[in-house]
Symmetry: C2
């Protein structure tokens, strides 16, 4: 097998090739931008969904399912929203051979499907906060080049929607959502920059948008999660109002929270390497692979032992493969590394005799696991692996971000933090360098150590800056 393309210099080639070799997704479906999730890829995706559910349900979100099809009449209700999406909506115009009276949009996002119902569900302040989510597919008629997982036309999507008493409560929900996203990203060993999107790039219909962006090499960033504050923009369009304690009718304030399959793409992009995928253990479709290593004379006893180890670990809920095929061990190592399995356990006569298993994690770190304490040993090895993976990702993250003090210092090989006065005029100057732009202003702490440096003045006009802005090329 030839080497994978160089990830650093040919990221998209590497990405496509690793998806194909590890068999995550098949892009040969006969419509561009619509891909097929293989059993292996779907397993990772389902595990990511499970992680998301575990982190959002404690916030009070309840799972629901709303229709995929939105009548044009509802879709038109929020003016900015429709404007933001009109170029990329798929329209259903025929049922059988009959033209539909009202054409139906395939949801590009579900505000306009959900809010007519919210308008019926919300009556009193006692009904609030209302928090629902769905994990569904949304559809966007992308006109840009499509890329498996990173930019597709049918998108696997988590979307949370809430209605709150007022602006402050909505603000608190935004913070709670961002807190849960931090926990999700941490479980996936992913660092990111938390940005407030500039006015001209906020979600269509939002009051403001917060996005989590991951530098993935060069000056490229990938948006991996978003939280929006809508104020009462949609509530007014959809008449979502409630009777307050004092009997007054008020509009609800709303927030949304979105995570798409891109987060899985980000995991692949951030952690993958020259040998293939690297899954953090929480979403690894296979967490442990056992490779029996034996001559023909002791193959039977070694295989029996290996099967026993597999059975024990699976009984504890781990996802474990046993590769007892006839391939040489080296070929097996290669194949399972490509598939990104966090931990490989090698079992031969020596390991059985000593009752100590040899483990090698996907980053090449070796350990011994005592046979009498199998599960604890494996759990510890997986935890150590995740810690190393997180460290490696953090270090790459730090290297991919720098501070630029002059326009000339904006480079193609790194994401830049700059002083910015906040004006759109200056903001747009960032775009002179091709498809790079100000993707937002940093919220909270700077993602890299600025060594106590005061915020420099606006890189474009020299006036006082109002925030640190992030200049990158969004993928």
């Amino acid at each position: 097998m030839t080497d994978l393309p160089d990830k650093e210099h040919a990221f998209l080639d590497w990405f496509n090739e690793v998806l194909e070799r590890a068999n995550v997704s098949d892009k040969r479906y006969p419509v561009k931008g619509l891909n097929v999730w293989t059993p292996f890829g779907f397993k990772a995706l389902s595990l990511m969904d499970r992680l998301i559910r575990e982190k959002v349900e404690p916030l009070g979100y309840q799972e629901t399912a709303f229709p995929t099809l939105i009548p044009d009449t509802e879709f038109q209700k929020e003016g900015k929203h429709i404007k933001g999406f009109e170029e990329e909506v798929y329209w259903v115009t025929l049922g059988g051979k009959t033209p539909l009276d009202v054409r139906l949009a395939l949801r590009p996002t579900s505000e306009t499907a959900i809010y007519p119902m919210f308008s019926l569900w919300v009556r009193s302040h006692k009904d609030l906060p209302l928090r629902v989510y769905q994990i569904c597919n949304v559809f966007r008629y992308e006109t840009k080049t499509t890329r498996p997982i990173l930019r597709v036309r049918e998108i696997h999507f988590f979307e949370g929607h809430t209605v709150q008493l007022g602006e402050a409560e909505a603000e608190a929900q935004v913070q709670a959502d961002l807190g849960s996203f931090l926990a999700i990203a941490d479980a996936l060993c992913l660092p990111y920059i938390k940005n407030k999107r500039p006015e001209w790039d906020k979600f269509a219909g939002a009051f403001y948008s917060v996005a989590c962006d991951l530098p993935i090499g060069g000056n490229r960033t990938l948006q991996i999660g978003t939280v929006h504050h809508y104020k009462d923009n949609f509530a007014k369009a959809f008449n979502i109002c409630y009777e307050d304690k004092d009997g007054e009718q008020k509009f609800g304030h709303q927030t949304t929270y979105g995570i798409s399959e891109r987060l899985l793409g980000a995991v692949i992009a951030m952690h993958g390497d020259d040998h293939g995928l690297v899954w953090p253990s929480i979403i690894a479709p296979v967490q442990v692979v056992i490779i029996p290593i034996a001559r023909e004379s002791d193959a039977r006893s070694v295989n029996d032992f290996a099967q026993d180890v597999q059975r024990k670990l699976m009984a504890e809920g781990l996802r474990v493969a046993l590769d007892a095929s006839d391939e040489r061990p080296g070929a097996k190592y290669y194949a399972w590394e490509m598939k990104g399995v966090p931990l490989r356990i090698e079992i031969g006569p020596r390991e059985i005799k000593d009752n100590k298993l040899s483990a090698v994690n996907r980053l090449g770190e070796r350990s011994k696991i005592p046979g009498e304490d199998l599960m604890a040993g494996v759990a510890e090895a997986l935890e150590a692996f995740d810690a190393s993976l997180r460290k490696r990702a953090d270090s790459a993250f730090q290297e991919r971000i720098t501070i630029a003090r002059e326009e000339d210092e904006l480079k193609d090989d790194v994401v830049s933090l700059v002083g910015w006065c906040g004006s759109e005029e200056c903001g747009k100057k960032a775009e002179k360098g091709g498809d790079r732009s100000i993707i937002g202003t940093v919220m909270g702490e700077l993602p890299i150590d600025a060594k106590g440096m005061a915020r420099p003045s606006c890189i474009f006009c020299g006036n006082d800056s109002s925030a640190w802005a992030v200049v990158s090329r969004p993928l």
Copy 2:
């Protein structure tokens, strides 16, 4: 609150009303036939999906996700299939403002989305059997009156697809699928009739179709699961072929397996009663509700105790609600019965003193649960509840089926088993009595005790019969 409509004589009214009062699904979405799953309804649906996964994965099925949109060019490939669906396909014709070169079908079922990929995935006999499934939404532009869950335009759907070496292997797969369906239905306490569909009513493109039908009162039946044998009909249309051991190129033989949200509708229809829903415990969104019963003086200690019971049961994985609201106990009983909770536990000072909890199941059966053996006691009570529910359903099932020996004996208040010569001409005679028809011929044992009776001759022509046929009015 007024009574529910009479289930026996006004089934559809009862069904709509119980969905609304128990808050399972909201039919007020602004497009007819597209409904919203509330958190409560979605929970039951998810639990049903989990049950299906648990029963089909041991057969070797792996979960995947294929695109929702199917290009017309693929959709047209199997002639009978397109003919069967052309009247009920939603077509996407516009992307943004651009007419699409090739219009896209919203999948009404996924054969034509999946088989172009199978054609790429299957190369050698070593790739077979191939078994995948997806749980997704399918779309049908129903022209008949829509009904929540029972006949909708966006359908929550499990579909399994396999490719086999030959006809015999496909036949074995059909049997395996039917075996797993029996286990699913049994877990849901549902009896059914297993029918081979008549030639004129088999799945569009199939060699033969097997359907599981549930009598739900009167002479109505509900199709709750289907398994189809396709032979190589689709394989030829989609070029799904493999190299056999001897080097010969052969077409695969295929099967499919489908279960829709109607199965959840069947659970509601079969088990629900005058007091509302009745969930079998495996899919009950709430399995146990705890009602503290106390005067104000001991409210605190009773509530603490009740919370402790809830905590302990939830730690064991049970779904438990505690209703500590200010409502009267009677109002609480009413509300939780409407929601179909299998087991109610009442806790007052007496129960605490004796360390014995009082339990009443949804069928009104009382038991005592020892406090020192809480989990085992509750598990036993739930098991006993399921057994009673199964018994009640079996008995209603038996009463809803009879044997008709003459055409005159075909009645509107019962499903009939009849002798049938097998000819379409005679088969169509069953339809003279309105919208009733021969829905199939009984496979395996008769669903009711025929007391050793020999199969009578054809009810329509008097010639020898070739099978027992089922005459009913499919909903």
